[in-house]
Symmetry: C3
Subunit: 396 residues, 3 copies
């Protein structure tokens, strides 16, 4: 309880403007706002662990719209919404009439008459996911302004083509707790590197999210990937700018080994090249099955040149004290376990398995914190009301 | 709060018998009962807008059984049940064993041991949907009478082959609010007309629901459709009888223009001809794919003769002051937007878009009102208990 | 209320160790533990019937993982969890990334960060279902021990390859109420027999569950099936041992008539032969479609030799006073109703239809009791808190 009260006091120190706002990209938010989201997440975690129910909604609907498969994020979103008191209704476009030409605007309003939050995952098509979320946001704002909706539901980006803020913020909270504080992250080196995977077409949003966020906390962020596996240029520019403004650095190389050198943290993960994802987006939209097959074949052949981009114990040895923190958004392609050869050697993964699980465990609280901070203006007061209510999560 | 108390007082004036009853067809209900459902819906809407939680169920299951695709009605039902405190469990016949020969009777009981409400959409097969709901109702009553079920869940018709009461009642509430009162609807002309759509096979339940309901409130209801696009004869007879008994009128023509003349309200919407739906039902039940293809082709060719049945600005000019209220259950086939040529011109739809959204926005509250009035005997007392509980929907 | 208080007092008499434990097999539990689960189920049923809400969770997630189709069990689990206050999140492996090679261990942790209960149905593959549940259990325990999970969710077996404890325990509660007490079951004869069905491949877990459980309460359990339709040998051994230890008997024959002779209870139900299920499991795992077709054909031909294994009125005549209690887990294959010829004659089923519905009606409460007893250490105290809270399920 003492810890909870201390954290609530800390929230009061910050001047933020998250109320009524969507959470689409971490770089839309000030550093103070990001810090508050982390603290709110910690309060919620502490509350639940101390059997205090932070149910701030007596009823209310949270809508999940997964335009790509998901287990982890689906359960994280469901857990977060349930914790706060909302029911979850899935907008399954397979089942719905959306497939039959409904406009985004109309649907956004039709599902939102009694909704508080909409979580969207749309990471398949480069140039589309974030744009789609903005379209939904505009439709909701218009519906609210014109008196159609009693409130303006907030959107939480559960992964788009550009950013994956619930992942990167959970990663940041994991780092905060691992290194003791955000302050302690200053000067630390994180290597965000490509890694080989026998599959292809993985979104760019995780590496982009990481370099876009970690450059804001004084870290030395090094991005490494084989030639051709570029990320969206705008995000690269953003990372450079962030680093300049926040006293860290951002560098790039084409070598996992160079990136790992003296790193405090390594984040080796597969992704598709930007240009391939662009081509693939066109083919998917045009239902060009033949083209997709050829592209996949080419891309896998190209991938295969970089099988040595595996996070193994030899490469780990060059990290700080041979003991960098290994991170992954999961599921990892583990050599000899989930595939013949993959992103990470089995012995390295085994050593850090529990750490990666804990990393993932912050996500439900990060999502809940994003929701809470978008729905409640005075977060310290809201938490005060929760404590006054004195409701156990599980009956005593 | 004053408005809420006034509405609750008004409920007390009516003598109704909705408790323990299903809501399958509006014409099963007295006009007083329909009026009370409207008022209950308004109370619920006011409560939610004033952050009062009308959660009357601490737990309880609401079952949705959608035998046809649905986004709007699915979310409306989920919103209504969530607002009242119930969890939603979908009876997905694709996933369940029902497809493997379970009887309706058994399933109805098996899913209802701890259920309070069952919402059913079954509008595909003419002669089947309403019949199915009656079968379920009988099974539930039998289960309750024989001590299998602790309570008899109420059924809410979320659209059948005959009526679409949650739609028509939401439409009526929209009209009540647009014209100031039900009293003000007397003498108003509403044109329920067929409209061209590039698709076919749309249910008859919306136009049937509209002419079956609006003829009870002293309105002049005019039904217009091309020759052959008849509705179920019994509903036509009912509309005539309603009009005679309630001081309005019911007329029919084969011209959109004649129907629109001096109309206060227009409701142009596509539907399939009765005879086609009959034939189609047989073919669907017999899985006669060849027959279905031929029927669709014939029907679309026939439809194409009536492309001029579009609600455009020219036709709108002949309505009362050129300014009739345009209504639609959504999604509308909008010419040049969702199809090449459809039910409504883009400029007409644009003018009324927000009105159609508001029209749809009543549906969750209408469904909640149907549920509430079927589960609670003394609605004024129940609302009194809700107010005494003084529970905010969102924490203060 | 008096009845509830009496039942709660009775719970106090037993010394049990269900807290923090999974419910996978009835034979993992002591007889006292099983008795307490029955009493807890009865308390919950009484509470709900008296409009007392036993909502012990203010929030919390219950996960359902149905690896086989299900209507009844799905709704029973949803009802149970909703009654206790949890939200339900379905782990649909079709939708999730599990199909893409995620390990059981990882997924078990990823879905459990804020979960209290996981219900699993995995009855398709002989030798797999129970093993899978043990794997999940181990992963959850590891996650909890290593600080990944804030609590260790309990697993409820919703049917595996070996046992179907929610079914057999619901059956036992049905018998307890039918015969007045567990004590009264002593010396009663129950015939668990195979019955003919035009389908094949039905799990062995129901008959195994019945002979494994009923032999513990002093009953004379007789198992009958055509030659070759054996159950898992270990369960047969267990039934023998149970009978010896608990003053009843366990016998086997190859005749429905012999089994029915003087039986107080008959439970005629189709299942596949053990050896066929073993072969089928291999074929399913190897996706051997040709082999599956041949096996099905052979098996159905073999089945067809035993069409006389139908529970008809003639066979019922030889039971105790010609009036044995007929039981079935539903849905039954009813001759002339759900199939040409099946497990039970229509007139026999009709006579007992309502009884089988009531039998099924215990399942939600049994599941809720299994959950409650795994999550709360002092059940009498928990029920005391529920009564003190004095919360109506439906508002007064």
């Amino acid at each position: 309880m003492e810890k909870i009260r201390t954290l609530i006091e800390e929230i009061k120190k910050y001047n933020i403007n998250l109320f009524g706002k969507d959470f689409l990209l971490t770089w839309d938010k000030t550093s103070d706002e990001l810090k508050v989201v982390l603290i709110v997440a910690e309060v919620l975690k502490e509350m639940r662990n101390n059997n205090i129910s932070p149910k701030v909604f007596d009823s209310g609907l949270a809508i999940s719209n997964f335009r790509d498969n998901s287990t982890r994020t689906r359960f994280s979103f469901a857990s977060a919404c349930n914790l706060l008191g909302m029911g979850i209704q899935d907008l399954d476009e397979g089942k719905s009439q959306i497939a039959h030409g409904e406009t985004v605007r109309e649907t956004a309003n039709m599902i939102s008459f009694l909704s508080d939050v909409i979580g969207i995952r749309d990471d398949m098509f480069l140039g589309k996911g974030h744009t789609y979320m903005l379209e939904v946001a505009e439709a909701l704002q218009d519906g609210f302004d014109q008196g159609v909706l009693p409130c303006r539901p907030s959107i939480v980006n559960l992964q788009c083509d550009i950013d994956h803020p619930t992942q990167s913020m959970a990663d940041l909270l994991h780092l905060k707790n691992n290194f003791g504080s955000l302050e302690n992250l200053k000067g630390k080196k994180i290597a965000m590197t490509w890694a080989y995977s026998p599959s292809y077409g993985k979104p760019l949003s995780v590496p982009q999210g990481i370099i876009g966020l970690m450059t804001r906390f004084g870290m030395h962020v090094e991005l490494a990937h084989p030639e051709g596996y570029d990320l969206i240029p705008e995000v690269i520019e953003l990372a450079k700018k962030n680093a300049e403004e926040n006293g860290g650095s951002f560098s790039m190389s084409n070598s996992m080994e160079i990136a790992f050198k003296d790193a405090d943290i390594v984040y080796p993960k597969s992704w598709a090249p930007y240009s391939v994802m662009e081509k693939r987006t066109d083919q998917l939209l045009n239902n060009d099955k033949e083209g997709l097959k050829i592209l996949e074949k080419e891309c896998l052949e190209n991938n295969a040149k970089y099988k040595n981009w595996e996070c193994d114990s030899l490469k780990m040895k060059v990290t700080k004290n041979g003991n960098a923190l290994y991170m992954h958004c999961l599921p990892a392609d583990i050599s000899g376990v989930s595939c013949l050869q993959g992103e990470v050697a089995a012995d390295v993964f085994d050593k850090y398995r529990i750490e990666t699980y804990k990393e993932a465990g912050y996500k439900p609280y990060i999502i809940a914190a994003m929701i809470l901070s978008s729905r409640f203006k005075d977060l310290a007061q809201t938490f005060g009301s929760v404590l006054n209510k004195n409701q156990n999560r599980i009956i005593n």
